[in-house]
Each structure stands twice: as structure tokens, then as C-alpha cells.
């Protein structure tokens, strides 16, 4: 369940849970959140809740609505956003979902036309009734995080230095998840960047690459600092940058 925390000049005034599909904000008494101040329009803004997402919309107010300092017409609310109307502040927060329901955020579910009316809490309860692994650890990311680029800070940067041939001395930084080396059609290998480190894998060609003189098989091979790779007749060194 999401909620709004109304404050002014740092003074906490009220906490308002967002239970309805439409939560209106304004000076007139019929509003769900009534703010009795002349700087606030009669019908100032509205928050529309669709299942677990919330949208803020300014209703053409005289003094406008801001979020985190930026004036908005329509805004897709994120956790901890601060809505500003005149001197008033409305902080939007979502309650953390219970662990078991978190795993279900990735579950595909059918949405029916009558479902949109149900408040968010019921949906997660429905999901919780399904049989999921109860021993979920907190090891995975919160559901609102987009697919993570791997924590680049944790893994040191790898690079290749070419030791022989026409490009000897050149350095290639391995910043992407996949970096391919060699001659397409002749011999190609790929270096993959994974959370556990860098790996080299043969892609195509009759001859397999070798690492420190040993020819590789078809499996991915973990690379250690200062390994010497030989591929398509060229020698190169893999090293980790500090």
C-alpha cells in the first residue's frame, strides 16, 4: 500500500494512505486531501492509482505542482518522490512488499478488466496464496530495480594487450559483457564479463584458442590476471586493471 505524508515547513501534518483509484487534492472540501490555503487551487491535482503504479496529474492549478523541484503536468510517481504544492509537501512512499510476494513480481499473471478496481494489497495477497519457495533469501534485488548492469565497481576492469603481430602494443579494454577477438570465418573467441570474473570461450574455427600454452576445449575458461592467450596466430595478455 502506498501513502502520502503531508508536511509544511518541515512540520508533519498528516499521513494519508492511497486506497482509492483516484485521490483528489485541493482547497475545496470535497477533495480527498483538503488543503485549506489560498495558494492551493480548488481542484489542484489528482493521483491515479493503477494496481501498483501511481500517477500524479496537475488539474490546471493556478500555482502549479512540482515534484522534486520540477514543475509537472503528469508524473509517474517513484518511491520517495516529494510533491510540492505551494508551501505544502506530500512525500510519496510505498510500503516494502513482504518477501514471498517479491518473488512473485516476476511471475506472469493475466489481468482482467475487473482487476484494475482492486487495491494493490489484494493483488499481492492473491499472489502470496500461490505456492512459492518460502525460503527466498534477500539476495535478489528489489522488484522496482530495472535489470541491473552488473556492479562494475565490484569487478575490476579487464583488458587485453596484444603482444605480437601488426597490432603489437595495442590495448583493448574489456568494458562490455561480451568482447569478441579473432578473425570471423577463421578463428573467433569471445571474452565474457560475468559477476564471478572474466571467461574466454571458443566461438568458431577449426583451431581452438590456447591459454598459457594449453589448448582450450569447448567450455568457457576462467581468465586469471596475466594469462597469455594465443588466437589466430596472435599472442595477447589478459590483465586486470587496478
Amino acid at each position: 500500500m502506498a501513502k502520502l505524508t503531508l508536511s509544511m515547513d518541515g512540520l508533519l501534518l498528516k499521513e494519508i494512505p492511497l486506497t482509492k483509484e483516484r485521490t483528489t487534492i485541493g482547497r475545496k472540501p470535497h477533495n480527498d486531501i483538503q488543503i485549506d490555503n489560498l495558494a492551493i487551487s480548488g481542484e489542484h491535482a489528482v493521483i491515479v492509482t493503477i494496481l501498483n503504479d501511481a500517477f500524479l496529474e496537475d488539474l490546471g492549478s493556478t500555482n502549479g505542482t512540482q515534484v522534486n523541484g520540477q514543475p509537472i503536468k503528469k508524473h509517474f510517481l517513484q518511491n520517495d518522490d516529494v510533491i510540492e504544492l505551494g508551501k505544502y509537501r506530500l512525500k510519496y512512499t510505498k510500503e516494502a512488499q513482504p518477501q514471498a510476494a517479491q518473488a512473485d513480481f516476476e511471475k506472469t499473471m493475466i489481468i482482467r478488466p475487473d482487476m484494475a478496481a482492486k487495491p494493490a494489497v489484494q493483488t499481492s495477497e492473491k499472489a502470496m496464496m500461490e505456492n512459492t519457495r518460502a525460503d527466498m533469501t534477500a539476495g535478489h534485488l528489489a522488484p522496482s530495480a530495472p535489470p541491473a548492469a552488473q556492479p562494475a565497481a565490484a569487478l575490476p576492469r579487464g583488458a587485453i594487450q596484444i603482444l605480437s603481430g601488426a597490432n603489437a602494443g595495442k590495448e583493448l579494454e574489456l568494458t562490455k559483457t561480451l568482447s569478441s577477438l579473432g578473425k570471423p570465418g577463421v578463428q573467433v573467441a569471445v571474452i565474457t564479463r560475468r559477476p564471478q570474473g572474466y571467461f574466454i570461450t571458443h566461438v568458431e574455427g577449426a583451431v581452438f584458442p590456447s591459454v598459457n600454452g594449453k589448448t582450450l576445449d569447448a567450455q568457457a575458461h576462467p581468465l586469471q590476471d596475466h594469462d597469455i592467450i594465443e588466437l589466430a596466430g596472435i599472442k595477447m595478455e589478459f590483465f586486470l586493471k587496478v
Binding site: 494496481l51 516476476e106 506472469t108 493475466i110 500461490e130 568458431e204
Partner: protein
């Protein structure tokens, strides 16, 4: 027409890092040019039942149908036969899953997404229901061919959300169409011309929710010479990024042109096939 020499196909299906069951199902018949992928949903392991039923039923019925009747021929209303066959068999599979869901309490509400492709006569006919996807790599261009049947997609199309905002939505994975949840369902079916060199990727959202489209495209392109490695790498990337859902992929590469035999040549072939 036997497409074994025309198509290179690979498939992988993995439970991922979080789920205890794999409720995805994949089916491949390279000779007939058939690729089917389904992502099941439902309580307990009903998702597994739904996706398994759909891939098995569609696979076996379409095998029979395409062996008997050439898919490229046109029916009386101008639609290629493939469209009718797919629509009919999808309807039949939908009924089967729906009936099973009605009859067993532990299967109540079960359903599955579906994305499938059938290749014939330099053409690919794609049918899909839900948010499992088909992408195409043609040269350097990697693009999503199917349009998700999901709440998020509808919000994006109505202008309510930008694609960037959609990535932060809490309403991911809510499909607006699925197989087996209603007595009837409408698949989206389209035809596309194929070119030699094209690589098609069918996948469940366990892949595209964990890995950016750009990374998926780069992986398929970089590893195009080794589709087995590409498939392994895609699944690995999804798991390295959290693997929060089952992840399945099917890769199909068009090696050369495959026009359907026409005229006397075609007639003679079919006659000879009778005697085999």
C-alpha cells in the same frame, strides 16, 4: 518440404535462479520449420501443465496438418493456409487447457503465453498471445517483431508511460491475453518475408526482463557463428543478472532460400510423396 538443411535451430529452457519449477516449455521441429515457446502461469505447478499441454498439442497437430497440406497454398479467401491452420490449432489447444483448468481445482486459472513461428516458402508466419517475444537480427539490425499483449504495452501505446518509465513499473508481467484462461482467445498472426542470414529469437520474458534488448542483440550478433553458444550465453546473462524468472530461448537461422515448389514440379513431388 524438408527444411533441415535450410534452418539451423537451437533451444534452451532454464528454471532460472529463483524459481523451483520451470513453467516454460519449448518445442522444435526443424524439418517442418516449427518453433513454439510457451511461458505458463498458475498456482502450484499448473503453469508447467498449461505450457506443456500447449506446446505438445500444437506441435503434434501442426506436424500432422503441415505434412498433409502444404502451408503456403492459399485458401479460398486469399489467406495462406498456414494462418487458418494456426488459428484452428491454437483454438483447439486453448479449449483443451481451459477444460483442464475447469475440471481440476489445482489447475484453476492456469494459462500460458505463446509465441510460435512456422517457416515455409521464404516466409515466416508468427502467432503470439501474451508477452513472450520474437526478435529478428538482420545484418546489424536487431528488432522486436511481436508486440506484447500486456498492461505495460497498452500504457506505452496510449502515451501514459514512456518505455523508460515502463522499466520502473511495478505492474510488469501482467498480460492482457493468455491461452487457457477463457473459452476463446484471439492470437495475433502475421507473415514476414525471410532472408538468408536472418536469425530469429523466440524468448520468454525471463530473458528480456533480465537483459536489455541491446545486450541481447549484441550477443546474438557476436555469437551468430555459434548458435549453441549464443543460446547458452543468453540464458547465462539472464541468470547472472538475477534470474528471477524461468528463461527460455529458441534461435533459428535461415541458411538459404527455400521457395515452395510450384507448378508441375510441386504437383509431381506431392504425387511421389504419396507413394513413399
Amino acid at each position: 518440404m524438408d527444411l533441415t538443411q535450410v534452418l539451423e535451430t537451437v533451444s534452451r529452457s532454464d528454471a532460472g535462479m529463483v524459481r523451483s519449477h520451470n513453467e516454460d516449455a519449448v518445442y522444435l521441429n526443424p524439418a517442418l520449420g516449427l518453433a513454439i515457446l510457451a511461458d505458463g502461469m498458475g498456482g502450484y505447478n499448473a503453469g508447467e501443465v498449461a505450457s506443456g499441454m500447449v506446446t505438445t498439442l500444437l506441435g503434434s497437430e501442426l506436424e500432422k496438418a503441415f505434412t498433409l497440406k502444404e502451408p503456403h497454398l492459399q485458401d479460398s479467401d486469399g489467406q495462406r493456409r498456414a494462418h487458418h491452420l494456426l488459428a484452428t490449432e491454437i483454438a483447439r489447444a486453448n479449449s483443451a487447457v481451459y477444460q483442464a483448468a475447469q475440471s481440476q481445482p489445482q489447475y484453476a486459472g492456469m494459462g500460458t503465453t505463446l509465441v510460435m513461428a512456422v517457416f515455409y516458402d521464404n516466409t515466416m508466419t508468427v502467432a503470439h498471445i501474451g508477452d513472450s517475444r520474437l526478435y529478428r537480427l538482420r545484418g546489424e539490425e536487431f528488432s522486436q517483431i511481436t508486440r506484447d499483449h500486456s498492461l505495460l504495452q497498452e500504457q506505452i501505446e496510449s502515451g501514459m508511460l514512456t518505455p523508460e518509465q515502463a522499466r520502473h513499473s511495478q505492474n510488469k508481467n501482467l498480460v492482457t491475453r493468455a491461452v487457457g484462461v477463457d473459452p476463446s482467445v484471439e492470437p495475433e498472426i502475421h507473415d514476414y518475408a525471410t532472408l538468408p542470414g536472418d536469425i530469429y529469437l523466440l524468448c520468454s520474458d525471463g530473458l528480456n526482463d533480465m537483459v536489455e534488448d541491446e545486450e541481447i542483440g549484441m550477443t546474438v550478433q557476436m555469437l551468430s557463428a555459434n548458435l549453441e553458444l549464443a543460446a547458452t550465453q543468453l540464458v547465462q546473462m539472464a541468470n547472472d543478472n538475477g534470474g528471477r524468472d524461468n528463461v527460455s530461448v529458441i534461435l533459428v537461422r535461415i541458411k538459404r532460400e527455400y521457395p515452395a515448389p510450384r507448378g508441375l514440379n510441386g504437383w509431381l513431388r506431392r504425387l511421389l510423396a504419396w507413394f513413399k
